[in-house]
Symmetry: C2
Subunit: 313 residues, 2 copies
């Protein structure tokens, strides 16, 4: 199926919404103003005023405190991404590297300094709150995964700066890390009470299931944000890279990307079934994990379709 020539991406799971999404949305907006990361222009602000609603769709069973934290992290990611991705900064590797060094320092346990920009202080605020809610291993994993996201961001930034067009294989390898989906999946372990020993978290089937869900989300985003990337002259998009490498029309590339999205969704569903073979109590923890992955995929699809982010600029 298509909508205006764009393939329609659909998910065989129902949508969900946290009952506290509205107050959390308001609290998240307040937080972005309080920590000073919300832009000052009203038009820009309007693009950043629904992360509580997004969080409410992604984490429909979270506690109020967990959802508040998760929504603030989402807001932080989008606002940081806006600074890095859509402004001149995204092409200035040195400035990006400096900011990332500060972020990494906070992730390593240091405190923000008075001369740090608000994004650095805001990240510290998130980690302080997460430390109160999450186990030490989960906090550690979250910090490691946020740091890997920064590293993948630098790879994208280098591509832009050097006008380098990565091959599709390279992009497919990097894409699961450039979307910050992995630390967001870490938060599912918190919101859905998924308590797996490290050995099981690292199990090939658990990792492959999360990777398939991650790719579903990223490819959906690439398809839905294609217009924006074309306008910005940004090559970091699966559709654009398929068109470039396979020398086909943009429309053909769009449908090939949608086919990859659908193949990842089919892989996800197969792997999800395979996880039911684990014995209890592991199987129940895995069922709560996959419920979270389903919510994430569905929320991302629904939210992206309507997000002002992709319409306004």
């Amino acid at each position: 199926m298509e909508t205006n020539g764009r393939p329609l991406l659909s998910y065989p799971f129902p949508p969900a919404l946290h009952p506290l999404a509205e107050p959390i949305n308001r609290a998240t907006i307040d937080w972005t103003h309080r920590v000073g990361i919300m832009p000052t222009e009203p038009a820009a602000q309007r693009r950043h005023e629904e992360y509580g609603w997004f969080g409410g769709r992604i984490y429909p069973t979270a506690s109020e405190e967990q959802l508040d934290l998760a929504s603030c992290f989402l807001a932080w990611l989008f606002l940081a991404d806006d600074q890095l991705d859509e402004t001149l900064l995204g092409r200035e590797t040195t400035q990006v590297a400096h900011l990332h060094t500060r972020f990494d320092s906070i992730l390593g346990g240091a405190h923000a300094r008075p001369d740090d920009v608000p994004l650095v202080h805001a990240l510290e605020d998130i980690l302080v709150r997460l430390a109160k809610l999450a186990s030490a291993p989960l906090l550690e994993r979250f910090c490691r995964d946020v740091s890997a996201y920064f590293e993948a961001n630098r790879w994208e930034c280098e591509n832009r700066r050097r006008h380098n067009v990565p091959c599709v294989a390279e992009y497919v390898a990097m894409r699961p890390f450039t979307g910050a989906v992995i630390p967001c999946f870490d938060l599912i372990y918190l919101t859905n009470q998924v308590d797996l020993p490290e050995r099981l978290h690292a199990h090939p089937l658990v990792q492959a299931t999360q990777l398939a869900a991650n790719r579903v989300i990223c490819y959906s985003n690439d398809i839905l944000s294609l217009g924006k990337e074309i306008r910005h002259g940004d090559v970091n998009n699966l559709v654009i890279l398929i068109q470039h490498e396979q020398r086909c029309s943009l429309n053909d590339a769009l449908h090939r990307a949608a086919a990859l999205h659908d193949a990842e969704l089919a892989t996800y569903l197969s792997l999800e079934r395979s996880l039911t073979a684990f014995e209890e109590p592991v199987a129940s923890h895995l069922a709560r994990l996959t419920a979270g992955l389903r919510s994430w995929m569905r929320a991302n699809g629904d939210w992206s379709e309507r997000a002002a982010r992709y319409k306004d600029d």
Copy 2:
């Protein structure tokens, strides 16, 4: 191209052979007798007398001591695999679990006990020798990766015991771990002087490159050992699972598996090129790593084609 109806797998890299392959092969055979893991029947012995030649193709630039160790590890893997895979033991989960517990204990630093079977003592001998040649982080990674191989073995064993036919997505997720290719790749870091900080070893592009090479090797093995698996009634083979899931002829499944093999090889070659973008001295270390991956793929293809292992039984 085909050979006797089987798709011909080919690699765009030349073969190589270590100049000391012959004496190392003799030393490896002596070692398997000395540590008591070589079977006693002459026919069975003949199937296990060429691992030094195999090691000499895989690690053509190793030092004598490194190649000796790597060839003994290959012999250990094949001889352990024979016990686990091809005898009754492979369907007896409890016995497999006990043996793996003993292996894991050795990998964790314990000593073999007098009542341990020779395979346990032989594994300790390998680790003692590796500890003298490898850095502490490399030794630790090798032990972790061998342990993950045992865990994947148990998954295969459970499939056999429960007559469970995994879906292709599940098999594809597990296959990189069931072939012991990952610890064998760890040895490339030793033999080819690849010295990367953990952050770079874990880099998505480095991991994806190794994963593609791993899959090339595993899918080649599945294609070449298909006859053996069919005779043994073993479903742990990509071709058999494609035939089962896609309800096609065995010949069609064989060609689809060969297409997956070729796609992974193309992915590998794309990713290998992308690694050249790293700056020095990292780029040189990565070039030595990919030289090792190429040798592995080529050696595996050439050796499997002729190995008595697939012809005799």
